[in-house]
Every structure is written in structure tokens, then in C-alpha cells.
């Protein structure tokens, strides 16, 4: 979705639209003017210390389960020298960010960026606050600040042994001129006491008692509930609906068109709204998308595998000469299907609209994009719109979009004064997704007489996310994100092999379904394409897949080190129990290097057991190893669910999978034992929410090949004769 800037803060809305797509804005000041809010002992934008010693860390990124909230608090507390038991947190109001000249920087949480793109300025926030607190104590004692130290929220004057606490000096500290953030020296991670440790998350208790409030739990006085159905064919419109048929049903208050593309029923309870919506006759203009099916999409993508294209991602040497001079050639075509995010908390937003105010409560990965969407949908000036961010029951990229917020405001606008909670049914979530894009890839490799890989040709054909949802970020029509993990260089997604002749390009083919960022994004299919194909080439060369890879990685020491770390932990090369086979894969993305070794067995009738997966990660630094281990395990579950059971198919323009019975997700019985190997090598900051997902599927697929001798190149596996317990 693109925001049409109609409001008084034009640059804000444009900036937010870009941020919503997941890229850093290239700012910013870590803190600016201090003590902005009267009565709050705010040392700077990131840190509040209360007179009772409570520390409040401001969280500008979203917590959706990934643990960023706790990690950011650890980083601030580390520099602040805070007593961890006194640390609490609060979300940043996105309007504050705009009012304070984007003091909080990018509030978006996508691309595994929450910590790796804000660690520096939040730590400087903590360090500056510490310095001001020490100065305040020193001034009170009339001693040089250089004679004072701080630890555990206690300031000590070393020569005299006098002590005071942060809370006792905070009111004086806020009056001190904040230091220049550039003048502050941050702590060497080697001496971290709070950051870098497997400290317990701050948000666990409420999640085991039912007390945690998610956006779907929002309750407001006088609130009504809305259920919605958009045209089942993306791009279609509402022609008419017979409201009279359902208006007499119990609890029904209103039947509305929403944005021309959807209908909603508003009722006293959501169950009444949904019951009436299911009974509502609607006539749709389905538009040209209704002619699209999985077969037509496949034909389009296949055509793209052979077509001319100007969109090149990686080119070196002379691939045509390499292929022409090959002693041996290997060729394969892979395909990766649409996937839905299927966050456990269905999409929802609550809105209250009056002529001079619009309030929104929702869970999101991008609070500023929600604000922009609410401003646009309400038609009200920026200053009259309020957004309250609520903890998210999963995000995975879906909550970077704001379509559900727009709808909630559009409904509320038709019923001024009444708070409306819009909750999507699971069926709506499954059929109105912003789907992981569909692509195919044809790969050709050339080997010389000594079985060295001399050339790699990759043609990707398929959907571009940026073309679908952020066309302003295309580069002369080319989508650079299509080549994630396949780039020649760079710190984001660099290919790990030195191949003398290479050509990777993209024939963009965009079906009517809206694409979106889905945990791991284009790395998911690119890692399958590259890492399964490299495995194929290794077998064609008669070499061990690990040894074959290592030969090509001398110029990529970090890729190689993490691959070796995974192999070592997995006892690669040592015998496995009878019937158990290994697969290996590596990839780099979102600044981190990852590798996995999977151990599987496959019965003669296709029962797959994934016994164990070792996942190794070099994310440069580790802020909370317990959180990272959980992100590794979770990435395996999410990535393997997609490859085992996922895949959205299209018939008559509609997504056919409507719930977890047709779009299954991994459960306990199929869960492998996951072993994490954290090998942070320092000097850079990589993400951890996504990277491991890249190697989940290719490691398992390569192990399945080792077990069966059968190379599977299209998914899900349930359609290829492979099932799980």
C-alpha cells in the first residue's frame, strides 16, 4: 500500500511509507532536546528514572515475540549501569517521534532490524543518562564527577565511600545539560554485565496467566465489534450487498461497505457480527484476477525462465563461455510457492472516530505506518490522530502492513463516536494475505575436468515484493531485494561462494495477489535454490557437499567459519545411526551468517522424521543468547512448516487455503531437537529474528535427498509424498 500524502506533515508520511517497507531511513540523532515532558524525570528520550529508582526504558521498536523489548532494555541498562531488577519499559507513542523530530529514529521492526539498527543510539541514551546522574551526585557532594562511579543504580564517591541512588539525584540530573552523544565512549562488549547475558525476558509472567493484553483483547466502554470480508479475489470490488437480510439478526447494529473492496457487519459481539456476515449476500465484481489460477501463474513463471530480462543481480566473468566450455553441466528448476504469515493473533485494530479526533489501538511492526494510515483513512490532521501500540501476537512481516488499520478507521468513520474493534477471522487472514512471493528458478552449473565449479547461471522468474507494495523503491524497475543472499558483496546478503563466472538475473512476473515481507523474505527461496543446487552439483562432482562448499569459500571467511561451526557441532563426517542422513546449508542475510546441519530419516512410505538440527549463527554480537536460541528454534519451525505443509494455491483468483486445516503448521510431534551454536565474531551487528530460517529448508531437503536419492524441487513436501508424524 502506498500512502497518498494529503496531510500537513507530508514528509513524515512519505518517510513512513518507505520505512514501512523495511529499510532504514538513514537518520538520526540519538536524543536531541531532553526533559521534554513536564513532570516526568526524563534524562533523555530513551531513559526515565523515577524517584523510587524505577528505570523506564522507552521502546521504539515492536515486540511481537522476538524478544527485542528485553534486548533493547539490556543494552540501555548496560550503559546506564542500572539495577536490572528496577528496569521497566514503555512503548513510544509514534506521534512523539514526529513531534520530537524523529528522535526515536526508525520505529519499524522488520528485516531483523530492531536491535542491529538501533543498538548504537539506545546505548548512547543509557550512557548519557548515567553521566548526567553521576554529575548530579557529584555536584550535590561538591566533588569532581571523575571521582564517582555508578553500578546497580548506585553512585559511589570512591574516595569518601559516599553513596546515593539514581532516584535520589534524578530531579537534579534532568536539569544538567546532556552531553554530546558523540563524546560518549560505549562499553566494550567484552565487559558487558547485563547485555550479552541470557537474562529472563521482561514479559513472560503475564503470558502464562492470561493477563497479557494483545490488541485483539482491547475493550472500551460502548465498543462494538466488526467482522469483515473483502472481495475474495484480490483487486475485486463490492457491487452490492443485501443488508436487509441480516439487519434483523441478533446484535447486528450496522452493515457497511468498507473502502469499496469489503463489507463489514458491526454488532454487539464479534460472534454476532461474524454470524451475520456469513449470512450476508454480497455481489462482487471480481475483476480480471478471477481468471488466475495456480496453473496460469506457473505458465507465466515458466515463460519467464527463458525470457529476456534487464534485471541483473550478480554478474562476473563470462557465464556463456564457462557453460560452453564445461566438461560437465548440471541443470535443475526449482519452484517456491506462496506462503501466508498466519500470525496466531488474527489481524485486528480498534478505532474511535469523531469529527475532531481519531484514536487507534492495534498491534503492529510499524507504529508510524499505523499513524500514517490512520491519518489518511480518517481525513483528520496529524495532530488529531492518536495511536496506541499493543503487544502483538506474532508479526512475521504481516504486521508491517496496515490494511487492517485502514479498514478499522473506515468503519469507525461511518459510526462516529462509537469505538469499533475490527477482528479478521482466520479465513480472512488466510485469504487476504500479503503473501510470500511465488518464484521459480532455473539453475545451470558448469564443472571443469577436475570437477571444479566454474560457472553458475541462475534465472529467477516470479513476483517482486517491492513492485507490489513499494514500487517507489524499485531501481529503474529492478527489485534489488529479489537477490537477497545472492549479492556479490555487501553487508546485508552476500553470496558465500567464489565462483569465477556467474550470472543471476530476474524475470519479474507479478500475479494479482499482493506480495509481502514474510520472515526471511526472498532468502527463503534463494537459499533453497542455491544451497540445494550446490548440493546437486557436489553430488554430480562426486564430492562431499561440505568439502565441495569449503573449496569455494576461502574469500568468505565468515560464511566458512559458521558453516564449520555447524558441521563441527553436528559431528559431520562421523557415522550416524542406520537410516539417518545429513544435509547441510549456509547463507548470509540481514547482516548475519548462518548454517545448519539436519539429520533425518525417511521411511519407505514417505514418513519424514527430522531428528536433530544444528543451527549456527554469527550475528557479530549477541545481546541475549537465550533469545537468540529461541529465534533459531522458531525460525526452524516457521521455515519448515512452510516447506512441509505450507503453500497457498490459487483457483478462480482466490487463495484456496482458508484455515490451519488446509494450511497446516508444525506441531509438537514433528519438532526436531534443535541445537544452537552461537559464534559471534564481533565487529558488526547482524539480526537474529530471521537469518536461521534461510537454512532450515535447504538443510532438511539436502538430508532428504541423502536419505532417499530423490531430489524434490517443488513444495510443499506433503504434495510430494513426504509426510510427518
Amino acid at each position: 500500500m502506498n500512502y497518498v500524502p494529503k496531510i500537513d506533515r507530508r514528509s513524515f508520511v512519505i518517510g513512513t511509507a518507505a520505512a514501512g517497507a523495511g529499510f532504514s531511513l538513514g537518520m538520526s540523532l540519538p536524543f536531541g532536546e531532553a526533559h521534554a515532558q513536564q513532570g516526568t524525570p526524563e534524562l533523555n528520550a530513551w531513559v526515565v528514572v523515577k524517584p523510587d529508582d524505577t528505570v523506564v526504558v522507552r521502546i521504539a521498536r515492536s515486540e511481537m515475540g522476538q524478544g527485542a523489548l528485553t534486548g533493547l532494555c539490556q543494552l540501555v541498562a548496560e550503559e546506564l549501569e542500572a539495577d536490572w531488577s528496577k528496569v521497566t519499559w514503555e512503548y513510544v507513542d509514534p506521534r512523539e517521534n514526529v513531534r520530537r523530530k524523529r528522535i526515536y529514529g526508525n520505529m519499524n521492526s522488520t528485516g531483523s532490524n530492531a536491535i542491529r539498527q538501533s543498538h548504537d543510539y539506545v546505548r548512547r541514551g543509557g550512557a548519557a543518562a548515567r553521566q548526567m546522574l553521576i554529575q548530579a551526585a557529584a555536584a550535590e557532594w561538591k566533588v569532581p564527577a571523575s571521582e564517582c562511579t555508578a553500578a546497580n543504580s548506585i553512585i559511589t564517591h570512591t574516595p569518601s565511600g559516599r553513596k546515593t541512588s539514581y532516584g535520589k539525584v534524578v530531579n537534579a540530573a534532568v536539569k544538567i545539560e546532556p552531553p554530546d552523544p558523540k563524546s560518549l565512549t560505549l562499553k566494550d562488549p567484552k565487559v558487558w554485565k547485563i547485555a550479552g547475558k541470557p537474562i529472563a525476558r521482561l514479559d513472560t509472567r503475564a503470558k502464562v496467566t492470561g493477563e497479557q493484553k494483545y490488541a485483539a483483547d482491547t475493550q472500551l466502554p460502548g465498543m462494538l465489534n466488526a467482522a469483515i470480508k473483502a472481495c475474495p479475489v484480490r483487486g475485486g470490488k463490492v457491487v452490492s450487498f443485501d443488508a436487509a437480510k441480516v439487519k434483523g439478526m441478533k446484535g447486528v447494529k450496522n452493515v457497511l461497505a468498507v473502502g469499496g473492496t469489503a463489507v463489514a457487519v458491526v454488532a454487539d459481539t464479534w460472534w454476532h457480527a461474524k454470524t451475520a456476515l456469513d449470512a450476508l449476500p454480497v455481489t462482487w465484481d471480481e475483476g480480471p484476477g478471477a481468471k488466475v489460477s495456480s496453473a496460469t501463474i506457473e505458465a507465466t513463471l515458466k515463460e519467464g525462465l527463458e525470457a529476456e530480462t534487464p534485471f541483473i543481480g550478480n554478474r562476473a566473468g563470462d557465464i556463456n563461455a564457462a557453460l560452453a566450455g564445461a566438461a560437465k553441466k548440471v541443470e535443475a528448476t526449482y519452484a517456491y510457492p506462496y506462503q501466508n504469515h498466519a500470525c496466531m493473533e488474527p489481524l485486528n485494530a480498534t478505532a474511535r472516530y469523531t469529527a475532531d479526533k481519531c484514536e487507534v489501538w492495534t498491534s503492529t511492526q510499524n507504529a508510524e505506518a499505523v499513524l500514517a494510515a490512520a491519518v489518511e483513512a480518517s481525513g483528520l490532521p496529524f495532530n488529531n490522530v492518536e495511536v496506541t501500540v499493543v503487544t502483538a501476537g506474532g508479526g512475521f512481516g504481516r504486521r508491517a502492513r496496515t490494511d487492517y488499520v485502514t479498514q478499522a478507521v473506515q468503519i469507525a468513520r461511518q459510526m462516529p463516536g462509537t469505538p469499533i474493534k475490527l477482528l479478521w477471522s482466520r479465513e480472512e487472514d488466510m485469504t487476504q494475505g500479503t503473501y510470500h512471493p511465488i518464484t521459480m528458478c532455473k539453475l545451470t552449473a558448469s564443472l571443469d575436468a577436475n570437477n571444479n565449479l566454474t560457472g553458475l547461471r541462475m534465472r529467477i522468474s516470479g513476483q517482486s515484493i517491492l513492485a507490489g507494495i513499494a514500487p517507489e523503491r524499485l531501481d529503474k524497475g529492478r527489485d534489488p531485494a529479489t537477490f537477497q543472499g545472492l549479492n556479490a558483496g555487501g553487508t546485508e546478503g552476500q553470496i558465500g561462494y567464489d565462483i569465477p563466472n556467474i550470472l543471476i538475473d530476474h524475470a519479474m512476473r507479478n500475479p494479482h495477489l499482493t506480495p509481502g515481507f514474510w520472515r526471511g523474505v526472498n532468502n527463503n527461496q534463494n537459499a533453497i535454490y542455491l544451497e540445494c543446487f550446490i548440493d546437486e552439483v557436489a553430488h554430480a562432482a562426486g564430492q562431499d557437499p561440505l568439502a565441495f562448499r569449503r573449496k569455494m569459500m576461502a574469500k568468505h571467511p565468515r560464511h566458512l567459519a559458521v558453516l564449520n561451526a555447524a558441521a563441527e557441532k553436528a559431528d559431520y563426517g562421523k557415522p550416524l545411526p542406520k537410516g539417518v542422513f545429513r544435509g547441510i546449508a549456509q547463507q548470509m542475510g540481514y547482516g548475519s551468517y548462518v548454517a545448519a546441519v539436519a539429520e533425518v530419516s525417511v521411511s519407505s512410505d514417505g514418513l519424514l522424521t527430522i531428528h536433530r538440527i544444528v543451527g549456527a549463527t554469527d550475528s557479530g554480537h549477541v545481546v541475549n543468547p537465550a533469545s537468540v536460541e529461541r529465534q533459531i528454534a522458531g525460525s526452524f519451525v516457521y521455515g519448515l512448516s512452510a516447506i512441509l505443509y505450507g503453500g497457498c494455491t490459487v483457483k478462480d483468483g482466490r487463495v484456496e487455503q482458508t484455515n490451519f486445516d488446509s494450511y497446516n503448521s508444525m506441531r509438537m510431534a514433528a519438532m526436531p531437537k534443535v541445537e544452537s551454536v552461537l559464534v559471534p565474531s564481533g565487529g558488526f551487528w547482524g539480526g537474529v529474528g530471521e537469518p536461521t530460517i534461510f537454512v532450515a529448508a535447504p538443510a532438511v531437503l539436502n538430508a532428504i535427498f541423502a536419505a532417499t536419492g530423490k531430489r524434490i524441487r517443488s513444495f510443499p513436501l506433503k504434495d510430494q509424498g513426504i509426510r510427518t508424524a
Binding site: 492470561g210 490451519f660 508444525m666 509438537m668 531437537k673
Partner: protein, 149 residues
């Protein structure tokens, strides 16, 4: 009006007999710890106990549970003292987003009542809830921890 006994308290709720128990709990009684995830008994986010048995409340008509003893996640702890399962969940830091965990914990609490020392196979059979964050490894560890507590 249907009378429901939830967490030891009687509630008269004005709903149609075929209303799923989930929505009566969430919308009429106002206890929001029990979650909607799928509506078709697939994901288990809505799991509650009915007379001590784990039930997926999204497909359980209220008429079928009138007069029975219903327990939701809010009713597990007594006087603020968390159950062994909840304590094991905290000690093992199971939740990520946490949305599915109410149902997961209710399913596990029922399992441990039936089988105080479940094997991994017992766990695989009994715990079929979906968690998109992928907390299963911690769930398994926490079940064993609770069983041995």
C-alpha cells in the same frame, strides 16, 4: 440465558445455545486470556478445561457445558500462586509472542492430570496445539520440568 460456572464463579450469559464457549468467555464474561486462533479446533489457542478435560472452546457450544465446571487460564493460579505448569513455563521461558500459550498451558495442565510423568511420545500425542513462534522445544522441556517438580 445460560448459566456457566467459570473459575468457580457463576455467570448468566445471554447468548444463543449454539454460541461457541470461546466467545461467551471472551465477550460475555470478559475473560480475554482464552484466545481465538482458528475457530475450527485446529490450533488449540482456545483450550479450556470442562470438568477437568481439555476442550477446544471455539467449537464447543455453550449449551453443552451449562452446569459444568469450566476453567480458563485465569483460573489456574489460586490466590496468586501459580501452578507448577505456569512456574515451569516461566523458568523455561517458554513464551515468545505468547498468544497461543494460554491454550498450550491448559492442554498441558490436562495432560499432566492424566499422566503425571508423560513420555515424549505421550506429549507428542496429547499436545497438538499450533505455535507459529515455534516454542515447542521449550514447551517440551517445561512439561518435563513441571512433571518432575
Amino acid at each position: 440465558m445460560i448459566s456457566l460456572t467459570i473459575n468457580g464463579k457463576a455467570h448468566n450469559v445471554d447468548v444463543e445455545p449454539d454460541t461457541p464457549l470461546l466467545w461467551a468467555i471472551r465477550e460475555n464474561v470478559g475473560l480475554t486470556g482464552t484466545k481465538y486462533g482458528c475457530g475450527v479446533a485446529q490450533c488449540g489457542s482456545c483450550t479450556v478445561h470442562v470438568d477437568g478435560v481439555a476442550m477446544r472452546s471455539c467449537v464447543t457450544p455453550v449449551s453443552s457445558v451449562a452446569g459444568k465446571k469450566i476453567t480458563t487460564i485465569e483460573g489456574l493460579a489460586e490466590n496468586g500462586v501459580l501452578t507448577k505448569v505456569q512456574q515451569a513455563w516461566i523458568a523455561n521461558e517458554v513464551p515468545q509472542c505468547g498468544y497461543c500459550q494460554s491454550g498450550m498451558i491448559m492442554a498441558v495442565a490436562a495432560l499432566l492430570k492424566d499422566k503425571p510423568k508423560p513420555t515424549d511420545a505421550d506429549i507428542n500425542d496429547a499436545i497438538t496445539n499450533i505455535c507459529r513462534c515455534g516454542t515447542f522445544q521449550q514447551v517440551r522441556a517445561a512439561i518435563h520440568a513441571a512433571a518432575n517438580a
